[in-house]
Symmetry: C2
Subunit: 318 residues, 2 copies
């Protein structure tokens, strides 16, 4: 193990597998990715990842023992810190011992696996929108609504590594839609991309198109389509209410909002801010900054590397 070497960073999602090298200051030196082969079984999925790791190391001419460590973000749920993963969008991995397999592959270097949303938040706090603040909620609004919490300058793990799960904060207990979790009126049940698409189609938007996406819905909104606009308002309202609750409960300074839906820009952030300010009225909540995530596509790899280079703030346990 080389303390001053780069970290191997791995980002595993339902859409892509990405592997890269990240230097101690957080710059991404190289990255390679492939679409996630979601139909494969557990071992073939692992072999796909294994090949990608070999390619990145070979390209750089590095042996595993020249790395500072390996950080990995993976879709949840997972058992933490054991890194036994069951990513919702990768059915082939159910209770897959990802951390142990990476350890076997890489030898005696630190290997740390955390939720991909947690990694993105660590990245935003380390080098992005939350830089310089001690109390930050990072959110990822996409197919799901995830997040992570940095409080008093340290990533909060919680009882099972799930702290920051803002997607299941309740914003509409009576009239909100049922949520996949079994509850009702959760933020995620309203604001996740597929839920917005489904709601818009019920209102008459692109009713015949089975593969309509939240991006198309946001684009139509940007062109003035009333249902597209209403859908972004609906998402923004739910986000604003949930963020106001979180700001009060956790005494935050900054909330960074990333993920695909955040690309909708003002269309989403205008109603979000409107409803945030309706509900965040205390002296210590009203000035909380709600801002777009700053790091974009590299956040997953940077955050995975943060688990190695800034373990005292973001990992905390081993």
């Amino acid at each position: 193990m080389a303390d001053t070497g780069p970290a191997l960073a791995v980002d595993i999602g339902g859409t892509k597998l990405a592997v890269g090298l990240v230097e101690p200051a957080g710059r991404v030196l190289s990255r390679q990715q492939v679409p996630t082969p979601v139909s494969l079984d557990a071992e073939l999925l692992w072999r796909t990842l294994d090949v990608l790791i070999s390619a990145v190391l070979a390209e750089a001419g590095l042996r595993p023992d020249e790395l500072a460590g390996c950080g990995c973000g993976c879709g949840g749920p997972m058992e933490w810190p054991s890194g036994v993963v069951s990513p919702l969008n990768i059915p082939g991995w159910r209770r897959f011992p990802l951390r142990d397999r990476l350890r076997q592959r890489l030898g005696q270097i630190p290997v740390r696996v955390h939720n991909d949303a947690i990694c993105m938040v660590a990245a935003e706090h380390w080098l992005g929108a939350g830089r310089g603040y001690d109390n930050v909620l990072g959110m990822v609004v996409s197919t799901g609504v995830g997040g992570g919490l940095v409080l008093d300058g340290r990533l909060v793990q919680g009882a099972s590594g799930n702290a920051g799960h803002i997607g299941h904060v309740v914003v509409d207990p009576d009239t909100g839609p049922p949520c996949a979790c079994g509850g009702r009126g959760c933020l995620e049940a309203i604001a996740r991309g597929p839920a917005l698409v489904s709601w818009a189609q019920q209102q008459g938007w692109r009713t015949g198109q089975a593969d309509a996406t939240a991006r198309e819905l946001a684009d139509d909104g940007a062109r003035g389509h009333p249902i597209g606009l209403a859908a972004m308002h609906r998402a923004g309202r739910a986000l604003g209410i949930a963020i106001a609750s979180a700001a009060s409960l956790c005494d935050l300074q900054v909330v960074s909002v990333g993920g695909g839906l955040s690309q909708a820009g003002r269309l989403l952030f205008d109603p979000l801010e409107e409803f945030f300010h309706v509900h965040a009225r205390l002296d210590f909540t009203r000035d909380v900054q709600v801002v777009p995530a700053a790091l974009g596509i590299s956040a997953g790899l940077v955050g995975a590397a943060a688990m190695i280079f800034k373990a005292d703030r973001y990992w905390l346990e081993d």
Copy 2:
């Protein structure tokens, strides 16, 4: 200063001023209290407290420099950690430099002032309902709804010492009542004692009685009065929803519920648990224990002493 001496513990609320001595293991050795003279001006209020401190020290035959320190819980809001207090229910103190005054009074021993709800949570985590757990939300449901958060084994301060403020988590954004904070549908706007009384009187309960209390309302509910029962159901529902949101956002293990309204027992906890379980459906939230606070009247003094004896967990800054 004597590291092994007792701590002087001070608990300042809108109803009473209490001062006591607490030994390092958390046992309350002595206590004296007086009703809070809320009509007095800042200096006379201070002198009342000063006399009480002198009485407790004299009774024990102790000089200030024989104390391990002084911990003080006071009603919020306050500036933390400077301990400049403006307790809502004590109008005579507005930006009163309580921490500095206690320091002047007591000399060169550690003096630490925190929110009274935070102190109660520290007490419950140290020696009460949250003992042995690393992720605990402590709540005080009374004239207001306050709380504090212990996450990853440490009290969370947040940006301004206000973390744990669950009273302003939104539980009814559309149809909920306006809140004193300026928002709408906050937990506190529904579940604080005076709000319940006001709601019950609108439904026809004791309409002529200007000084009706939440305790009378709960007692009437216990005797089967339908509006009393409905009021406890209303409070329990709001608490259950807010606690479910907090359990998900913060990945909790235990929520302790104290304060006057928690004395209503099953009348409050049954609907609370019903609605908590409607909304807390994730693997990591459904088994969160929601329990009555365990320490009762001594929690304020024990928690104030925790700021001295367990500063690494509950105070963190100086």
